[in-house]
Amino acid sequence: MMNNRYLRVFLKIFSAIISIGAFLLIWHIATNGTKLGELMPGPIELISSLIKSTYTNIGKYTIIGHILFSLSRVLIAFTVGGVIGILLGTAMGWYKTAEAIFRPFYEMIRPIPPIAWISLAILWFGLGEIMKYFVIFLAAFSIITYNAFAGAQAVDPVLIGAAKMLGAKDSRIFRSIVFPSAVPYIFAGLHTAISASWATVVAAEMVRASEGAGWLIIQGMEMNNMIQILIGIIAIGIVGLLLSIIMRGVEAKLCAWSKSGK
């Protein structure tokens, strides 16, 4: 059994290497041997530029610096959006009054893609950081609020009854029953929201910034520098993947109780 599993993992990795290798090879041949080379740099050139960009500046910073800029924007706005979204969502899911007051307002904002706010945000907050925080906040907030709300509504009424029978009052039920039972929903929301926030920061930086992953791409376009654009895209992809993996790890730890298996 054990051997079988190792074999399967090995085969998976092996076939991944083969397919990526084949892709790189075709890419290399295509860009070297045909006119495609004028549209696209080859893989060797791109990878070496990518490595070089980690220690030489593009604009004011290395690629690491640009990514850290984008990440800090995301983390600040995502955290604020997350905290407010979790509180508002669970409150709307449990307290009818909170739902009556906030839900109509929230439902109005929810269907609007965060990127659509960028122009308005610029008029309100100017071209600085606040504008970026604001649109990323909206992206994270609307997703997380929705999930927290759905989670709080999906709480098992039997558990509410059990808590009541054990003497729990309304506020206690909210804290000790509604909130924890919404946690798996909230995590699903955080997971989607971090990806959405990452996409949004790139968009916001493409509109106006002097650093960040989005700026790399836009500046690459303005300078007609295809390698810089591709480096930006690759960096964005890698960071997006890492954020997703981290979220999944945290989720697996904190929501262990909701998964079966001994």
């Binding site: 039997v158 558990l159 009854g161 059990a162 808590a163 009541k164 029978m165 054990l166 003497g167 729990a168 206690r172 000790s176 029953i177 924890p180 039972s181 946690v183 262990a256 109780w257 909701s258 998964k259 079966s260 298996g261 001994k262």
Partner: protein, 247 residues
Amino acid sequence: MQTNIKVEVKNLTKSFGDLLVLDDISFNVTSGEFLCIVGPTGCGKTTFLNSLTKLYSITKGSILVNNEPVNLKKHNIAYIFQENSTFPWLTVEQNVSFGLDIKKVPKDKKKENIKEVLDIVGLYAFRKYYPVQLSASMVQRVSIARAFATKPELLLMDEPYGQLDIELRYKLEDELIRLWKKTNTTVLFITHNIEEAVYLGDRILVLSNKPTKVKESIDNHIPRPRSIVSPEFVKLRNRVTELIKWW
């Protein structure tokens, strides 16, 4: 005599809209009694317990505990639901602790209390486990331990062993009897399993089909521990079976 009555159900009527479920039901439960209630599926057994505990409002009539209207803050009532009601995000130990935390039981007293009930249901070794890691019967024992930990004066159980296989049921039934004897709790035990009712109860209340009335109340004086194959057991079981033949 009056002080000896734990629960007094007076002309209890409960309907959901046009659907009349409990129809003018009256009976008493004596302090320390183990009362089994049997009735066909859908006759309103769960509805009765939910009315007693105020999860549902009563249409007409009243339910008194210790001669006064039910007050969950004052009366220490525990309720074991038909469905699994353990909190999945809490460990076994934390589940049992839930009611004690609310009642602000001091720390060492609480620890002692938790150990005592978990020992009785045989789950002390599993105290750090989450419900999802346990089997169905173990989860049900967590609910039982959680209920007993608060030392209830009145314990309500709604077909708690319905989902379990026979062997485990026997085991948990004996465990329950032991706990009941030790604590002097009054128990209302709902089941549709006649053998279970005859095995456990001091008395069996047989309910009719909807709209539901009390069909008969049968005292059960068979000495404990009871044997399900003894002639008197079989005789009583047959009598109850006869009563509910028309379900």
